[in-house]
């Protein structure tokens, strides 16, 4: 496959990861911070931005580790543990670096990084890229797209919840209850994108 066709594929994978194969709304990964931190648009935007930032990099890292360490050694089955360790270490490192280098960026993005360490969407993306046998370039596209997709989903949810904050919601549905129902409806809406790309 030449570079150009790979770039095209990466682009398509990226777009489909944002809309049709949204990591959150079609695979329901990264749901914990999605429900926990979607009360305010500002907070969600910060968290979402941090995910966009981290996902492509962890994808590259785990891709390299998988193809250059685990595959040659025949340890593919260890990828779960390996990826978790690599992601956790990377996120820790990034947090420290950002805090040191740019207080502004740390304020905006860095404080959310510890929350991301355990975000299963990040691990999910790395695992999917292995299952689907993406090349490095496509993987970057996939990571970026998934990050943007997660960002979109949480921003939308935060917007809806801010609106809901003043509404009368039955007691049993308040908080996570209504959030999960809305997530389901959003997921249905995102299915509508499937026709656009035909994947």
């Amino acid at each position: 496959m030449n570079l150009q066709s790979e770039m095209t594929q990466a682009f398509i994978v990226c777009i489909s990861a944002v809309f049709t194969n949204n990591i959150l709304l079609s695979y329901f990964l990264g749901l914990c911070p999605f429900i926990g931190s979607s009360r305010e648009v500002n907070t969600s935007a910060g968290l979402g931005a941090a995910v966009i930032f981290v996902m492509p990099f962890t994808c590259i890292l785990t891709w390299v580790v998988y193809h250059f360490v685990l595959v040659p050694l025949g340890l593919e089955f260890f990828r779960f543990i390996m990826f978790i360790i690599v992601i956790a270490a990377f996120v820790q490192f990034v947090e420290m670096a950002i805090e040191r280098l740019s207080p502004y960026l740390y304020q905006r993005l860095g404080v959310f990084l510890p929350l991301i360490t355990v975000n299963c969407a990040i691990l999910g993306v790395s695992l999917f890229m292995v299952i689907r046998d993406y090349s490095l370039i496509v993987t970057v596209g996939y990571g970026l797209g998934s990050g943007i997709g997660w960002f979109l989903a949480i921003i939308a949810m935060a917007g809806i919840r801010q609106k809901l904050a003043n509404d009368l919601i039955p007691k049993g549905l308040q908080g996570p209850g209504i959030t999960l129902i809305i997530t389901g409806i959003m997921a249905l809406a995102f299915i509508g994108f499937t026709g656009v790309l035909g994947t």
């Binding site: 907070t43 340890l75 360790i85 690599v86 270490a89 820790q92 207080p103 304020q107």
Partner: protein
């Protein structure tokens, strides 16, 4: 063959994990190294620490205990301090726990602030006094069948300063009946002028982890840990009359308060109503007589609800609240201080309000 693969896998994973850990440690050493930072508290105390840790952990290291329930994860919102300078801008992780007034007043969550430069903070003065103490039990005195007085000599730190009425949290260590350390609050009953020992008056609670420990396991000579002092159940600074109402181990804070009144020659007119079921449940009567002699205008009124025939009780009878209602003619101008079971407190509040005492003049610590 299988074992070999497994061994290899474990080895590789360990190597990679060790490598990553090393990278993190090295980068932490270089990136988190902010040099010495000076922390100034309430403008008069300061100390220098190595930067990089959270403000909460730095303060805890220095034995300044900021209340915190989650251990610095930013989920309880209790560890608030006022940051005058050097704390940076408000972080989004703090926002949900602060109201508009606090945000305007530079209140921050100390667990979320990282010490990167000199920081100036303001905390309530009482928090300085809160320490962890070790003490040695020097005396256990039976006051009634169910209530004992425990005297502890302080070992480290050697002295405690407290305002009469405050309580400490005594730790019951891991023992036969309990698999974890638990803390329970008990009011200090000793003279505040005597700083090297504290007395606690404890009533036995059947099945209670800490009281069972104190009554059945703790012996003279044993070491205990407690922290404190806490609480705002203290005398106000004015001259109005006072009505004390207590029952059982609720006696404790008043003993300390009476010592203070004697030491400082406080002349406020005071009536102390103490409720008990029968004469056997009264205690510290001699001490109360002493206080009646030493204080200008103090009266101790024991009230017995079920006097036995043979005990020949000549004092007040009935419920303690009934005695208050009969005798406290000055209630509408006085202040009420209550200590005892939640039932006693609720009933007393009701009666005092009925007698015309405004509810903001009724003070109590409700122990469950």
């Amino acid at each position: 063959m299988m074992i070999l693969v497994l061994l290899k896998a474990v080895l590789i994973i360990s190597i990679i994990a060790a490598f990553l850990a090393a990278v993190l440690s090295v980068s932490e050493y270089f990136l988190r190294n902010y040099g010495p930072c000076k922390i100034t508290i309430n403008k008069d105390k300061d100390f220098t620490v190595d930067g990089g840790a959270s403000l909460l952990s730095v303060l805890t290291d220095k034995k300044i205990f900021i209340p915190s329930a989650c251990g610095g994860k930013g989920t309880c919102g209790l560890c608030k301090v006022k940051a005058l300078s050097g704390a940076g801008t408000l972080l989004p992780t703090e926002e949900p726990y602060l109201d508009e007034k606090e945000k305007a007043g530079n209140v921050r969550l100390s667990c979320q602030i990282r010490v990167r430069n000199d920081i100036e903070i303001e905390i309530p003065e009482e928090l300085f006094n809160i320490r962890e103490y070790t003490g040695k039990c020097t005396e256990i005195i039976d006051l009634t069948a169910e209530i004992k007085l425990f005297r502890f000599e302080l070992i480290e730190p050697k002295e405690i300063s407290f305002t009469p009425g405050q309580y400490v949290q005594l730790m019951a260590p891991v023992y036969e009946k309990s698999s974890e350390e638990v803390y329970r609050a008990y009011s200090i009953s000793s003279d505040p002028a005597q700083k090297d020992t504290i007395d606690l008056i404890i009533k036995f609670v059947p099945g209670g982890i800490c009281t069972t420990y104190c009554f059945k396991y703790l012996k003279v000579g044993d070491e205990v840990k407690f922290n404190g002092p806490y609480g705002e159940f203290c005398l106000t600074q004015n001259d109005s009359d006072m009505i004390f109402v207590a029952g059982g181990s609720g006696m404790a804070p008043f003993v300390s308060i009476l010592h203070e009144m004697r030491n400082k020659k406080i002349k406020r007119k005071t009536a102390y109503y103490f409720g008990a079921n029968n004469v056997d449940e009264l205690f510290l009567l001699d001490e109360m007589k002493q206080f009646e002699k030493q204080l200008d205008d103090f009266k101790f009124v024991p009230v017995i609800s079920r006097p036995k025939q043979n005990q020949n009780w000549k004092g007040q009878t009935g419920l303690v609240t009934e005695a208050v209602e009969r005798n406290a003619k000055n209630a509408s101008e006085a202040e009420g201080y209550l200590c005892g079971s939640p039932g006693l407190i609720d009933a007393s509040v009701k009666i005092l309000k009925k007698l015309g005492m405004p509810s903001n003049k009724i003070y109590y610590d409700k122990f469950a």
